[in-house]
């Protein structure tokens, strides 16, 4: 069976991620319900507004099934708001905001500033130099001992991995560069092309 990457499509930049994955021959499903989640082998959580996604994760009944899948080793990649959702601690978030505690980092929401401070910059990553697009971006303020830093902006970690879970504070889907999507797909057991 061909493997398939789900892209969480509750709110945010899911369409751009689907295009990036399609361009490297990966089958994608937009995930809005638990039934759709059941059909995917990996999950990408896009940027968007983390507080909006948190609410929709609850109302759609997706929070607990996703948490269970991650605990069972499903490869998962969160970008920007998606990173906030995967983190073990959210700083400056809403008090009722839950996260999956899937990667041991503390992240501060919008720590790089408002939209007028949003920027693009080259960063050094495991896959080589990468052009990072940072939009109202969160900052990784603490990295746990089990977490590997895969990319830095200057000295600062912006791309991290723990087991099968990856997180980025920037937007690889906006750079027309699929190397990080390819790296993520390689975490799937049967790294499958359609």
């Amino acid at each position: 069976m061909n493997s398939c990457v789900g892209v969480l499509a509750l709110q945010g930049a899911f369409a751009a991620h689907c295009e990036s994955l399609a361009s490297i021959g990966i089958k994608t499903i937009e995930v809005r319900t638990p039934e759709q989640l059941a059909n995917v082998d990996a999950l990408l959580m896009p940027g968007g507004e983390s507080s909006t996604m948190s609410q929709l994760l609850e109302s759609s009944g997706l929070f607990d099934p996703i948490a269970a899948r991650i605990a069972n080793g499903m490869p998962t990649f969160g970008t920007c708001a998606g990173m906030i959702l995967l983190s073990s601690e959210i700083l400056d978030g809403r008090s009722d905001q839950r996260s999956f505690n899937a990667i041991d980092v503390s992240v501060r929401r919008n720590a790089f500033g408002r939209q007028v401070d949003s920027f693009e910059s080259d960063i050094d990553t495991r896959v080589g130099q990468f052009h990072g697009v940072f939009i109202r971006a969160p900052r990784i303020e603490r990295v746990g001992p089990e977490v590997e830093v895969l990319g830095r902006l200057g000295d600062e970690p912006v791309l991290v991995q723990q087991g099968k879970v990856m997180a980025a504070s920037f937007h690889p889907e906006l750079s027309h560069d699929v190397r990080l999507h390819e790296y993520f797909v390689s975490l799937m057991p049967t790294a499958g092309k359609v």
Partner: protein, 299 residues
């Protein structure tokens, strides 16, 4: 903020990027910090800070201008989600002020009284991204050629009537579909008829899609309205008067958020549409004359 030598702000990619982040979401008009918190609690992906919702602007008449910076700052301080604010068409100084306040998006809006009868704002001159309204594809492309990073339908704001937004979305997406079928020589004719730059028309023909995200605004009052806009091709929705002019704003706001996400799922739409109380009353298009229509503002 941290910056490295190669870092740059305010690029087209960064500006269009925020529009990308707002997809699938609901942007709600709010006039107080309390309403902004209700909107954020309900799952809004952004708020539009303004002094009066369009229904009240329509009722009051007179000249409608940019909101008081003090109220915009109060709303900014009350939520974590992006805050947008409106400048008058062509009023680049209002836009400069909004940018200096650090709003996340400027709406060059026909809901306010136009300041220039011929020129829109040169939006490339700004670090902050702009959204502009459009009734058809030519107008939408002219706004992109001026630097707009997001287009929304105009609809007829403050009426609670979706019919105009449907007309605008059908016109925009219908013409996009036709252009993707046109041959190279027909594209010249399309550009001429749309009064739009040829390279942007050619880009649509090549990519099959509009250069920036297209959202729906104007007349959304119910979860079903939001889902209709999404099924017609809009990538997110603005709700102006529809929430805080209804009987019970908080549950309606939440229901519209869920309907925008699950826009193709009638069972979920039925579930979230239940027991919301009365929507805003609304106005039929035959009850307002041409001079009262906001949508005809913009050139």
């Amino acid at each position: 903020m941290s910056s490295t030598n190669s870092s740059s702000v305010g690029t087209l990619r960064v500006k269009r990027g925020l529009a990308e982040m707002l997809k699938g979401g609901v942007i709600m008009d709010v006039v107080t910090p309390e309403q902004a918190r209700v909107a954020e609690d309900a799952g809004a992906c952004a708020v539009m800070a303004l002094e009066r919702v369009p229904a009240d602007i329509r009722r009051d008449g007179g000249v409608a201008r940019m909101s008081d910076p003090e109220m915009i700052e109060a709303i900014k301080a009350s939520v974590r989600i992006p805050v947008m604010a409106k400048a008058r068409i062509g009023h680049f100084v209002e836009a400069q002020i909004l940018e200096s306040l650090g709003v996340d998006f400027v709406d060059e809006s026909e809901v306010l009284t136009p300041a220039d009868e011929k020129h829109h704002i040169d939006k490339f001159a700004f670090t902050v991204p702009f959204v502009c309204g459009a009734t058809n594809l030519g107008e939408a492309l002219r706004r992109v050629s001026e630097g707009a990073c997001m287009i929304r339908s105009k609809g007829e704001a403050g009426t609670g009537n979706i019919v105009e937004a449907v007309r605008h979305l059908r016109s925009i997406f219908g013409d996009i579909r036709k252009i993707t079928q046109a041959d190279a020589s027909e594209l010249f004719d399309w550009a001429k008829n749309l009064q739009a730059p040829l390279p942007l028309v050619q880009e649509i023909a090549e990519t099959g899609k509009f250069p920036v995200p297209i959202f729906c605004a104007g007349g959304i009052a119910t979860p079903a309205d939001a889902a209709l806009a999404m099924q017609l091709g809009a990538e997110a929705v603005f709700v102006g008067s529809g929430i805080f002019k209804s009987d019970d704003p908080a549950p309606r706001a939440k229901a519209i958020v869920e309907a925008t996400t699950h826009f193709r799922d009638p069972q979920i739409l039925a579930k979230v549409s239940r027991g919301l109380g009365a929507p805003m009353t609304g106005i039929g298009m035959d009850e307002i004359n041409e001079a009262q229509k906001f949508a005809s503002r913009g050139w």
